[in-house]
Symmetry: none
Subunit: 222 residues, 4 copies
Amino acid sequence: MNEYSFRLWHDSLMSAIAKKSRRTATREQRKQQLINATMKCIARKGMGSTTLGDVAKEAGLSQGIVNLHFESKENLLNETLRYIADDYKTQFNHVLDRSGPGAAAKLHALMELDLRPSILDRRKLAVWFAFWGEVKSRPRYREICEASDEYYDDVVRSLCDEIITAGRYKNVSGAAVATVLTSVTNGMWLSYLISPKRFDRLSAANAVDEYLCSIFPQHFPL
Amino acid sequence: MNEYSFRLWHDSLMSAIAKKSRRTATREQRKQQLINATMKCIARKGMGSTTLGDVAKEAGLSQGIVNLHFESKENLLNETLRYIADDYKTQFNHVLDRSGPGAAAKLHALMELDLRPSILDRRKLAVWFAFWGEVKSRPRYREICEASDEYYDDVVRSLCDEIITAGRYKNVSGAAVATVLTSVTNGMWLSYLISPKRFDRLSAANAVDEYLCSIFPQHFPL
Amino acid sequence: MNEYSFRLWHDSLMSAIAKKSRRTATREQRKQQLINATMKCIARKGMGSTTLGDVAKEAGLSQGIVNLHFESKENLLNETLRYIADDYKTQFNHVLDRSGPGAAAKLHALMELDLRPSILDRRKLAVWFAFWGEVKSRPRYREICEASDEYYDDVVRSLCDEIITAGRYKNVSGAAVATVLTSVTNGMWLSYLISPKRFDRLSAANAVDEYLCSIFPQHFPL
Amino acid sequence: MNEYSFRLWHDSLMSAIAKKSRRTATREQRKQQLINATMKCIARKGMGSTTLGDVAKEAGLSQGIVNLHFESKENLLNETLRYIADDYKTQFNHVLDRSGPGAAAKLHALMELDLRPSILDRRKLAVWFAFWGEVKSRPRYREICEASDEYYDDVVRSLCDEIITAGRYKNVSGAAVATVLTSVTNGMWLSYLISPKRFDRLSAANAVDEYLCSIFPQHFPL
DNA sequence: AATGAATGAGGGTTCATTCAT
DNA sequence: CATGAATGAACCCTCATTCAT
């Protein structure tokens, strides 16, 4: 897969909408347009400095537009978080379906997904971290994130368990490996967010591969 | 090591200061007191909802106090970030010095540090993530975090390299292992922040141990 | 006379209109429907909190409907005030025509009208007071109210003069009695608006009767 | 008593305050200053069009000043209503104390008070009616007004009862006379508010006198 | 050094009004 | 005639910052 910039990613929708007359976009389209604008703003200015005016301007619409469609800023942010969670889930499931056959191939594909440019995009990561930064004080954010995480963890653990059973690996628990794998992904995102220059996708991918190879040698040969 | 609560952690400083007459606390003590109050507020209300008024009230001082000592809110936050970075570094170095002998023992001690209650504290983590959430839009935060990360990465990589050399491990790069190790720590912090109930310190520690054991079997036997 | 609820009062009109197809109500009917909705809203939420959106919703029509029929909110309110003034005048004149014979009987009937449930209705009174509350700052309201008042005052004074002449009362001026009578009515409305529990229609009617009896003893015997 | 204009009435306080340095007025003085400004604004622009910005400007202070001292607009209005109620009560009680001896003299003095220029001032009346206009939809306003009214009604009824007992008047109830007297006052205020030109203080006073004379002839001779 | 009243810019939100359909 | 999405000015309120004390 080649490099999709963040811009390309969600502007595809927006430009389509923008071409329609201002007064004719459907409610759902308009909400999506505003969510997209919100993500752009959060990525550029940070969550704390993103105002509804910024979002409206980014969307090319008028001041009151967000309250018209989302009632409140809080709502907009909740739905934005839900959107990025859904968006990730879609990609995750897509990869899960298309890859394989076999648990090992699927596991590898999932790990690779998290380092793909469409995910490992500093603008997207900035949005994720912006929400994580408020998780402690906003129960709603925590709930949404938790539901998300639980799902991925379960899937990854199942795959690991399957591999362990198949390979009769000893001294390894599926849960432990799953914990390391999902954690390592999130941790790498942070590294990339903080040190984009120093971060190297290939090295990161290799590090993951080495780990898998070391822990499941039969399934991930050198 | 026994459980240090967050409260204990930084109230130790504050109470000492509070006992001094209000008017005689030195500039440095007062600044520290305000930084402590800032961390408490960020943990409780989130970065975006923490006002200078909140900080002042938390410190039991008056409205204008922060500007008096830090000139601006921006300064206060920068110095708060620097403080938590320094605080972590102190613990890190302390562990590095006291543990051992040997790279493996040191590495293990460092990994264990990150799961200790004094570090794995949701209030502290909330502060870290609050800053990381703004890293993309605040270059100053990024710089501070980057400097921090670079140091830990270097130390961990050195230890790994030493172990690899000593054990003549093949097909393993120190950089890759270091990347996984530091990443896994950050990722686990996120898990704990989001799902404190589901997170289990021991399992997490075991997962790390399994990893080390699998990759450096001679140095980390079962 | 039995109790007419406020609901009955103006819903009679509205239901008739509502039964017509939405698209065929005449301009006049639609305007009346909106005026009725306006009164309901003012009574329930107060003048300051009544929005055009509220009025439209109350009427079961769409957002922009008021501007379509009244051009502006100001117009709607002016016409609403004119409507309640006309509505009162209609009842007033009706009583004037049907009662009698004789000035005393008419005067008594008019005084009784102002305490009838169809008038002494807190929802209607709320509308009157809402407009009176803006009289000072809205010349248009003042003019409409003044025209109204002048008419009633003239009628009442004429009746009083007639009674005075007929009874050869000394030391009494028709104008003075008329002033007291019209004032007392408005004042009682205020009492009822403020203290509906404490207010007693019968006592109020008796108080008026005692007054008439004391000032015009021949015409209003015990 | 000679004519006190509304301006004179409450500017006496304000000018004193304004002379003090902006930063030194006591909290109580500042609140009073803002209440005065609020009354001016309500009288001039109406309750619905009075913004906190207007009040601040009228007081010669800055935008945020009202929220600093009253927390919310609602609070400001509640306290303003309470203030005019207290202000009236003070005058009422003062007259009650100073007049007499005898119930009749006191009653007459109280009735005269309500027609004095210091009370019968369109700007003040505009404020009263502005609040009465919202009584139906704002329970708090109703409560404050009710408490006020109850007190005056009780005092007036007591005086009437005393007169009735002393004069052995038959066919007259103190409650009824009190109702008429207090109502007539409020009704006259409305007349003056609506038709300042047509309203004549002397005629109004005479109308009240005629009434008293007619109902309590021994105590209020011609 | 410390206070806390005051400022005023800027935030989220509301709502009368417009206009394409 | 009627709709309702969209606008944008103006509202209330918050809060970083200033400054007289």
